[in-house]
């Protein structure tokens, strides 16, 4: 039993790291642009399909690098053409817009790549367990965690030490003042949106190594990301990271004792956090009124 719990806790951390990657992208966009991006799962799917189409030409590694950048480019265009028109309006507009966008992306990918799932393979040396006993720790899953850690580390460094990153952080706290200081917040928001979508694209490429690639693949991954943000606290990237890991571990542990509740446990945690600490675990009070 102890073994089982330990196994599942470790396993939960692996899954949680993945949730966190997606949630941080969502969180970036939400913090600076106040847009709740329902199409985030759609961008994840775009990233996954792009890497599927690129793999024959670039190989697994080439596609892993190129696909997220292409996804980010699409995200950049979408922000320029659509998303920016709803800034400053009632949040309902951006909800409706991104909600519609999610449908368009889902059926768009179905039109382009077909409704039937696509077989995706990963390099053989990654698709093996590391040891007989710890069979659930495969090379690929470790690799996923490493990429997630790397991506998040790079992001945090960017946010802390680069001019643009500092502006993004400042904008999260008070966009009006940042604008008043002469910073072009239009460009800042486009860039920030593209980075968020880059993370979604990366998550998509990584996910397609483990999951079946089909147009609705992003749906099941979007919800945990939202919950990670709410649990961790809106406005705090550290909180989002913590939230993602927490629900991953909780879902893993619940699967040991009460498997059919392993999905529901995320909502239970969210409900408790909202009751006890409505701003989220690391959220700052008043970030979102």
């Amino acid at each position: 039993m102890i073994d089982l719990l330990l196994f599942n806790a470790t396993n939960g951390l692996i899954i949680g790291a993945f949730y966190a990657l997606m949630a941080i992208g969502l969180s970036l966009i939400l913090n600076l642009s106040n847009v709740i991006n329902f199409a985030h799962g759609g961008f994840l799917v775009i990233g996954a399909y792009l890497s599927y189409s690129l793999t024959p030409y670039l190989g697994f590694w080439g596609a892993l690098i190129v696909a997220p950048f292409l996804t980010a480019a699409i995200g950049f265009l979408v922000e320029r053409l659509l998303i920016r028109r709803v800034y400053g309006r009632d949040p309902l507009y951006s909800l409706l817009l991104t909600f519609g966008l999610a449908f368009i992306i889902e059926d768009g990918t179905r039109q382009i790549w077909g409704a039937l799932g696509k077989p995706t393979s990963i390099p053989a040396f990654l698709s093996k367990p590391l040891s007989y006993q710890f069979f659930f720790i495969t090379g690929y899953r470790l690799f996923m965690v490493a990429i997630v850690v790397l991506a998040i580390a790079v992001l945090f460094v960017l946010l802390r030490y680069t001019r643009a990153g500092i502006r993004v952080r400042a904008g999260t706290l008070d966009l009006e003042t940042v604008a008043a200081l002469g910073i072009n917040i239009r460009t800042l928001r486009s860039l920030n949106f593209a980075i968020g979508i880059f993370l979604a694209g990366l998550a998509g490429v990584l996910a397609s190594g483990q999951l079946g690639l089909e147009p609705t693949m992003g749906d099941g991954l979007l919800m945990p990301s939202f919950i990670a943000i709410i649990v961790g606290g809106v406005g705090s990237l550290n909180g989002t990271l913590l939230g993602g890991l927490m629900i991953g571990v909780a879902a893993g542990l619940t699967a040991v004792v009460f498997p059919s509740a392993s999905d529901a446990i995320m909502y239970v945690i969210m409900a408790i956090v909202l009751l006890v600490r409505p701003r989220g675990l690391l959220g700052e009070e008043g970030m979102l009124t």
């Binding site: 909800l95 799932g117 996910a207």
Partner: protein, 422 residues
Amino acid sequence: MKKSIHSLTPDRRTILKGAAAVGALQIASPFVIPVWAADAVKIGIANPLTGTYAATGKNEQIGMQLAAEQINAKGGILGRKVELLFEDSTSGDAGTAVQKTRKLIERDRVNFLVGNVNSALAQAMAQVSNEKGVLHIVPGGHTDPITGKDCKWNVFRVCNTTRMEANAVSTLLFKTYGKKWHFITPDYAFGHTLYQGCEANLKKLGGTVTGNELTPLGITDFSAYLIKARAANPDVLVVLVQGNDMVNCLKQISQFGIDKQIHIAGTQQELEAVEAMPPEARVGVWMFEWYWKQAASQPGLDQFIAEIRKKSGGKVPTARTWFGYVTIHSYALACAKAKSIEAKTVAKALSDMELPPEVKLQPNKVFFRGGDHQLMLSAFIGQLNSKGDGDPENLFKVNSVVAGESIAPSIADTGCKMQMPA
């Protein structure tokens, strides 16, 4: 607080409400292909064209279209042209399915109703068709009650019941692979009845269940369940999830190397799912409800494969394509036999009607059992073929083709008390 233009923020409640709405993503827009003509026999189809079951729904659609073309080329039904009216039922929203069914019956006045891939939606549609007295064939929803305790005079089914699926593989698995079974079961009607069937068979044979992992529909990560399953050390890991869940589960099983330690098996397997898996994940013993590559030659089979290839971008037919094909042909055959399109007369003609070789496309007798309106179709039992043995399209090695009659429970056991109207 007055909000300035830059700090207009969504409040937490909006985020929560929005998050709740995300579940509705799979509900999609209406999609109609109207084909009109005077005096045609209209067939209304409410089946998934979007969402999780879009791929299977689409394949059923292709099969139906082929059948309708063939029927029209031979003079239609009783000299009247056949027209198909497709509606997107969505993959999981019973409300939409019922609304589309009512629209087909009340506004389009269809003579015959078809649907649904999703068992729950099929059941909801059957309520409506029964109330309206419209003949209805369920091409691909498997849960038992449709031709069991909820059977109706106007409702027939082409695909297997879950009990037939369980019966098809249980004895073979027990004899070949061992008596300790662990299950991974989707947590809804289809999974529950399928598990009950397997469990009952296993107990009868003297085996034991080491555990049953009930997994939420649409779950992406099976690792937690697989950790538990391996710890229980069973002889066989029986995977009952379907569709994309099946793809995810088998992909993870193969990456964890579990297929090298425990026998992997299951009941229903579909070509749509297998095609979406990488070669290394194509493992285990399964049952297909129909398979295109058959040992003995069947009249019309080669032509069927060739026609479907033309319609599906070169792909071979799947069991789903066959379901759609059989559904429309069965209706036309029954009308011809009854010399009428009146629902009750056609229903009587369809009861105990045997399918001709060019429609059944398989060995054994295939017929709609009169007592429960269930089609007695063969079960194709065999192993997944990871590389296709020289033919990349041949992903399943059929070991035996078992007659439907031999795996179906008796009518008394189905719980069906069929009452045909006078």
